[in-house]
Amino acid sequence: MSTTDDLLSTIGRDDDPATMARLHARLEESRDVDVAYRVVDSPLGDLLVATTERGVVRVGFESVGHDAVLDELGRDLSPRVLRAPRRLDDAARQLAEYFGGERERFDLRLDTRLAHGFRLEVVEHLREIGYGETASYAQVAELAGRPRAIRAVGTACARNPLPVVLPCHRVVRSDGTPGQYAGGPAAKRYLLDLESAGA
């Protein structure tokens, strides 16, 4: 059918980006969007930020792969995932302020549905570690009520669905070295330096 393909070939060239953007915008207002997201740039690379109607549900580093994060959201929350940047204006602004050293705590509604059980306990307690402070994995284990679950605290931090916003970067090794981080050790170091400069 190559002649038919030739015949209709010019038709493939009309989906210009401006048209697709205008059409996409008509979907972004829909009430049927269960998970809205946008990508914000940051000193740590592009961050994918997603929200449900309950609140911000996920912050994903570029190093993890944004497609992987979207697949995870589609699987664990709802497939009705759409890029709808305006629904995350507030989160994007607060993140920009944080990275600019002008904000010490986030004032956002959060949806912690992606963390369960002890991992949820741990991420909830992360908010108790203030800006510019650090705590050891052992101290967080204590805060979460399971002082011997140090390794589990490490896992919970590594899988924190809301890094930066829920500050797992403030949890460090007992010798003071930063330790592992979902966004990579350099990103953790960057955040600790950013906060110690401001605090």
């Binding site: 059918m1 002649t3 038919t4 015949l7 209709l8 010019t10 038709i11 493939g12 009309d14 989906d15 210009d16 401006a18 048209t19 697709m20 205008r22 059409l23 996409h24 008509r26 979907l27 829909s30 049927d32 969007v33 269960d34 997201y37 979207l70 697949d71 959201l73 589609g74 709802s78 497939p79 009705r80 995932v81 759409l82 890029r83």
Partner: protein, 152 residues
Amino acid sequence: MIPFESAVERHGATVLRVCRAVLGPLEAEDAWAETFLAALSSYDDLPEGTNLEAWLVTVAHRKAIDVRRAEQRRAVPSAELPEHGRHDPDPTAHDPVYDALRALPPKQRQAVAYHHLGGLSHREVAEILGGTEAAARRACADGITTLRRTLR
């Protein structure tokens, strides 16, 4: 099921082409939006393994009919000129291929759009247009013959 955003990215352009082929240039964008809004609404109930593109083209077929009917209802009572500038200029408004497609008899136009642009099989085309698979195949072939003659 892939995230809905990925479905829009992968199939948005195809659905737009189908809408533009079966409708006038201005109505096509309304049909596209109605298609994806309806698709989003039922997306979480879609059986795993659904052929997304075929499903979207089928939804687009129904929405194109709705949009066309709504336009006709609007057009009948008023003697006013059609509203220009309601949308941005459509790049296909004066495209010879689209003009030729839109000049085809409805069944042929739909069959060509759904099969050649939307990727539906002749059997699937027959399912949504009614009639036999053979009739759908013939409508496609007749449409292509006319297009070829018009565009020569």
